[in-house]
Amino acid sequence: MSTILTTLAKELMSYFFSPVAYVIAVLFYLFRGLEVHGQVRAMAALGADRDLFSTVYMISPSSNFMVVLVPAILTMRCFAEERRSGSLEVLMTAPVREREVVLGKWLAALVFFAVLWLPTLPLLLLLNSEFFLAQDLPYGPVLTGYLGLTLLGAFLLAVGCWTSSLTDNQLLASLTAMLFNTALLVGPDMLGQQLGAQAQEWPWHVLLDQTRVRDHLVSWFCRGLVDTAQLTFYLGGAVFFLFLTTKSLEARRWR
């Protein structure tokens, strides 16, 4: 346990003192600001239903950037960099278990990913104040959207950790993770189309529904819905890829 906490603290420090993290945050909130402001203007001009705002607020296009690119960027150096510099060998000969190191690094990336999203919550509070919009915009979908994005982040960060454990090339690790993330966003729909009517049959329809992460975010989490069945996919996925990462590190011993 102490190994996990030590690794978590060390990794978190490195994230918070990295210029890359601030560049990501500033760019993300700048794009997001432009998008949300545009949405506010359009919705006010059309007299749109204000209950829609929270959903739109959470699933603006910049969210895709956060989902596809950021987990890959955050985790690319987790093991690849340590491998390249040789510090992984030192770490693995120390009296620590592989799974503790993996969990510590993954948790640090997850905490940082969640913190990146955190300003969305107080921002909505500010928008609801008299000085800004004073609209009684609902918080429910924002909170559940935050939960959904964090769960998806947990899953994708585990994928990123795994790809990083396979190579000593950071760029390759991040590109592989990005490719996987993109495939996860668009793959189930494409597969569903390929399968045609068969996609409606058990177990395909269950597996396809469970893996449609974009649909989970757009139609469920960001509308204020939390389905326990979807949680199984994200938590199970994170556990699976963290297991693969651990095994990948263990496999070094046999070489």
Binding site: F16, F17, P19, A21, Y22, V23, A25, V26, Y29, L30, R32, G33, L34, V36, H37, V40, M43, A44, A45, L46, G47, A48, D49, R50, D51, P119, L123, L126, L127, F131, F132, L133, A134, D136, G140, P141, L143, P203, V206, L207, Q210, S219, R223, G224, L225, V226, D227, T228, A229, T232, F233, G236, V239, F240, F243, L244, K247, E250, W254, R255
Partner: protein, 528 residues
């Protein structure tokens, strides 16, 4: 060397095997997690719009339990692919889009609750032209924006614009003003999808089509107009629930048709003639069902029939005076006040816990709000074979009977002030049930509601009571239920100044703050 190779191979095999086992566990967990007994849905959406009423949840669960019943919900939405050319077009498109989203959301919940017994199909004309056309032909769909509810082989078509939503449609004659102000645009008032779709499912579940005859020719409000005092919403809702609505000029025809399941008199303003009263009584004695809904009119005075002949045969009397009730004083909570028109509004909190109609409302905490009421009392000695229950709907205890007063010019005037005499206050009945024994067959039942509340202005609040009364009278007791809450649309209204401030916050404030934090942290780090 050979040992090392064998060890490597063994290691790889172990890795693959362990990975496959964990993957299998993950897939198994996913398959198990979607089983109805294993999953749960938590709704944090605005107005909990994905949460359907317990009655709808029970209805859908019942379909699943039956096993043999397959409910299909097909949508035919208008494609919204064209870019709007004007601001008005953009507004209408936005409204349509919102309705489509709300309908999809609702159907998503139906599918979730119904499991394998419910199938939702969205027909998209842009993606699958042939399939959509074939489905539209099969269901006889002629216009877009409809939902087809199909249960087994029977189906019903619901319009998204008219059946599932309440839209304020502006007067088409209204033109833009010379000042440049736009003509009024349609506005979504509320979404009543659950109410409409669940009613359609229920109407498909029961066999047969009972007929309700609305008695006309008694100066009653219109059954077809869209005005607040008309009854078009009630008629429409009854038709949605599978009842056929007809009109009957009783004075002219002279008898109640044999196929009448329920005879309804909605706010008649003239007395029934002797022969018409006798026709109604004959109908009741042969096991007929009557709903008599009267109200109070200040002027003209003769718009307040008491139906003395009919009442005497049913063992009850409808008063001539109006029932008023103290309203809560906003300045002193917990105390009552009078002297304001609101004393006419009667919140009916005293509902009979024994009657199936009111019991459902009590359970759901729905309080009918009636107005312009008159007291209905049981006669001391009802006729033989007649039993009367006046506990169906009663006011709270601070109701009094008010008489007309003469204004300065001698014209009648409402007196909203409460009497000083404490004896004048009581809980008063505005709803009663009279049952007429019929040795030859089923008993006749008459429900008297002596206050207004089922017209278009009151249906939103009292729709459950009205529809349940009709369903109960029609002996469709399984359809007596409480309908879902409506989703009320709330417009986003922001001034140009508010939008500008929001822009500063979102585009300047937040990224700027993050940039500053980054610079400070990295600067301090470099110094350390």
């Amino acid at each position: 060397m050979a040992m090392t190779r064998a060890r490597r191979l063994l290691g790889r095999l172990h890795l693959w095997f362990a990975s496959l086992v964990v993957l299998a566990i993950w897939i198994l967990a996913m398959l198990l997690a979607v089983r109805p007994g294993m999953k749960a849905l938590f709704d944090f959406s605005p107005q909990a719009r994905f949460s359907v009423s317990p009655a709808t949840a029970e209805l859908l669960a019942g379909l699943g339990r039956g096993g043999a019943r397959q409910l299909e919900l097909h949508t035919f939405f208008e494609p919204l692919n064209e870019t709007p050319r004007t601001a008005d077009e953009a507004h209408v498109r936005q409204l349509r889009q919102r309705l489509q989203v709300l309908t999809r959301d609702l159907l998503q919940r139906y599918q979730y609750l119904g499991g394998e017994a419910v199938k939702v199909v969205h027909h998209d004309l842009l993606r699958d032209v042939a399939g959509t056309r074939a489905a539209a032909t099969a269901f006889q769909v002629q216009t877009p924006n409809v939902v087809v509810v199909q249960l087994d082989r029977r189906s019903k078509i619901l319009s998204v614009d008219y059946d599932l939503a309440d839209i304020d449609i502006p007067d088409p004659q209204r033109q833009p003003t010379p000042g440049g102000q736009r003509a009024a645009l349609p506005v979504l008032r509320d979404f009543k999808g659950e109410e409409a779709i669940s009613s359609a499912i229920k109407s498909l579940l029961v066999e047969g089509t009972p007929t309700v005859y609305f008695v006309t020719g008694l100066a009653e409000p219109s059954l077809r107009d869209g005005t607040a005092d008309a009854y078009s919403e009630l008629v429409h809702a009854l038709e949605q629930e599978g009842l056929r609505c007809q009109t009957l000029d009783l004075e002219r025809v002279g008898s109640v048709p044999e196929d009448a399941t329920v005879l309804a008199l909605m706010e008649p303003r003239r007395e029934l003639s002797q022969h018409a009263s006798d026709a109604v009584l004959a109908y009741l004695r042969r096991g007929g069902r009557l709903l008599l809904n009267v109200s109070y009119w200040l002027v003209p005075e003769d718009w307040n029939p008491t139906f003395g002949r009919l009442g005497a045969a049913l063992g009850l009397a409808i008063g001539e005076d109006v029932v008023y009730h103290l309203v809560e004083d906003p300045a002193r909570p917990g105390t009552g006040m009078s002297g304001v028109p609101a004393v006419q509004n009667l919140r009916i909190t005293e509902l009979s816990p024994a009657h199936p109609v009111t019991r459902q409302l009590l359970r759901a905490g729905r309080v009918p709000e009636l107005k312009a009421g008159r007291e209905v009392q049981a006669l001391a000695r009802p006729p033989e074979g007649v039993s009367v229950d006046t506990t169906l709907l009663r006011t709270r205890p601070f109701a009094w009977l008010a008489r007309r007063t003469a204004g300065p010019g001698g014209e009648p005037e409402a007196n909203f002030f409460s009497p000083p005499d404490r004896e004048a206050y009581a809980s008063r009945s505005v709803g009663a049930v009279a049952t007429l024994a019929n040795p030859a067959g089923r008993e006749g039942v008459a429900v008297i509601i002596s206050a207004a509340g089922f017209n278009n202005a009151g249906m939103k609040v009292n729709g459950d009571l009205a529809l349940n009364l009709f369903q109960w009278l029609a002996e469709r007791k399984e359809l007596v239920s409480v309908r879902g809450e409506r989703y009320v649309a709330r417009k986003l209204d922001a001034t140009a100044q508010q939008i500008e401030r929001t822009g500063w916050l979102l585009i300047g404030g937040v990224p700027g703050l993050l940039l500053l934090t980054g610079i400070v942290v990295l600067w301090r780090r470099s110094r350390a």
